[in-house]
């Protein structure tokens, strides 16, 4: 694991946001960058690399990576469905949406499809309560989910994946 030159440049830009000697503050943003570059999850090699970049101990990276829910410590599918299940989403049928995704992809929560394309994860409130039910897919939210919308999203991901292969 090593960043490309332009990503290393990005790391330097992030470090420059903080006063001298406070480069540890760059840890959370740099872990996001590392996860994006490394197939959507953080291996211990990746975390060690981040530690070396920021001149901190590997344990300082592990303790942060294990605390925040957005870091994946195991490999995930190419498309990660993060479906909210907290109160306001539940009132608008998120339980049924989660059941439908399970049925449609034939996986349980926390599992990945055999083709490695999809992982289903349930998450707690993402701040889209007025547009429920919802999921996060990559950088964006998919809101007002219905069974039809879930079908569309899955088809869209499959199409994108086959055009990339």
């Amino acid at each position: 694991m090593a960043f490309t030159a332009d990503k290393l440049q990005k790391v330097q830009e992030i470090i420059a946001r903080y006063p001298d000697g406070k480069q540890k503050s760059a840890l959370i943003p740099v872990l996001h960058l590392a996860q994006e570059e490394h197939g959507g999850w953080l291996s211990s090699e990746t975390m060690d690399y981040v530690a070396s970049l920021l001149k901190i101990e590997p344990i300082e990276v592990y303790e942060v990576a294990t605390f925040y829910s957005m870091y994946n410590l195991k490999p995930v599918g190419r498309y990660l469905f993060e479906v909210c299940q907290t109160g306001p989403c539940m009132l608008n049928g998120s339980d049924q949406i989660i059941d439908y995704i399970k049925e449609k992809l034939n996986i349980g929560v926390g599992e990945t499809t055999a083709d490695g394309l999809f992982t289903l994860k349930t998450v707690e409130c993402l701040g889209a309560c007025g547009y429920a039910p919802m999921m996060q897919l990559g950088k964006h939210y998919r809101e007002h989910l219905t069974r039809d919308k879930v079908d569309q999203i899955i088809a869209e991901c499959r199409a994108k994946a086959s055009s990339m292969n």
Partner: protein, 452 residues
Amino acid sequence: MGRKLLLEKAHVEGIRTYEVYRREGGYASVEKALKTMSPDQVTEEVKKSGLRGRGGAGFPAGMKWSFLAKPEGVPRYLVCNADESEPGTFKDRYLMEFIPHLLIEGLIVASYALGSNRTYIYIRGEYAWIVDILETAIAEANANGWLGKNIFGSGFDLQIYVQRGAGAYICGEETALIESLEGKRGNPRIKPPFPAVKGVWDCPTVVNNVETLAAVVPIINLGGEEYAKIGVGKSTGTKLISACGNINKPGVYEIDMTISVEEFIYSDEYCGGIPNGKRLKACIPGGSSVPILPANLLFKTAKGDTRIMNYESLSDGGFATGTMMGSGGFIVLDEDQCVVRHTLTLARFYRHESCGQCSPCREGTGWMEKILKNIETGKGKMSDIDLLWDIQRKIEGNTICPLGDAAAWPVAAALRHFRDEFEWHVLNPVESQQRNFGLAHYADPRPVPATA
């Protein structure tokens, strides 16, 4: 139609861009503050405005600013709390997404008042696309001379940076946020020392919510006294309410804190009533941690006064018969919703989000979730209801940060007002798996519409 101070221009086409925002009168407060006022005068106006923190606690913002320590030669920091994570709350997201320059403008004025030369916006990690929107707005503000060195010859230097979190409700607590900004786990710190004395990198720090900082713009433009004339009593200015749950028009509304709760739910200007002609069962008006109220206590206080959407009226009656304004996350439950199930999702949320530092919260939130799950799935015992009450009492007030209280209150309020629904689940383990309890005695006090 209430007066709008924050979202008035949010629907102007192109308002997200600097050009349109400026044409619509944006950045006037920065000109006024930096050219005609001293930093202390800015703080004084914010004090006079009566602005209360919009993140949930409602602490007077001007007073918080005046506590900031100013030792010679030590940098001071302003950090904007954009870690919006309280279930039911999505107002800051709306403001940042649609009118980002309003926040940048407020941050410049507030940074000037506090003497912060590096200001950070700590935004929840999931709002990834909003990071781009804010960074674009910051770049535009830089290009047009509103940020950088010696801004408009004032001698004041400022740079604003966006820091993305990575999924942790606890980082909305200001000391946990500071820890996270330092690249650590979001474990809240013991106070004192308060951030005003020892905050980020041990320097004096003010942490304010997005909406609070945006409100600084109209306060400077209008003057603190004029701003304080809007609203009523100690609820001055306007408040953003994010409305969700079982309503016809979920969304973000700016209110002037003089309208009644009933009007807010049923008026077409706001929530537009409940879908499919259903009746109201309950409401959590200020984000998931504030007490849930049954419909009969929501529209009128225990004394019989009309309940108004403001800090004082919502909390009238204390926790026995009232609730709180909180973050303005307004969650409506219709007659077909199950309070036990809803409370279970909140208990699961707090168990998931507990940082694990204090045992009453770490253990207690897990126990509450397990017991609620048993009751919800028809496996509960009558003694579980008392046990739940006992656990929440032992969490409240016994933790470093308010997450413990936030986890205890929803369970306490659900038991206080909906105990018969919990008992019904225990006594009817089969039936409770097939249908919901319904309205019962705390029925919607509104007249039943005549049906043909």
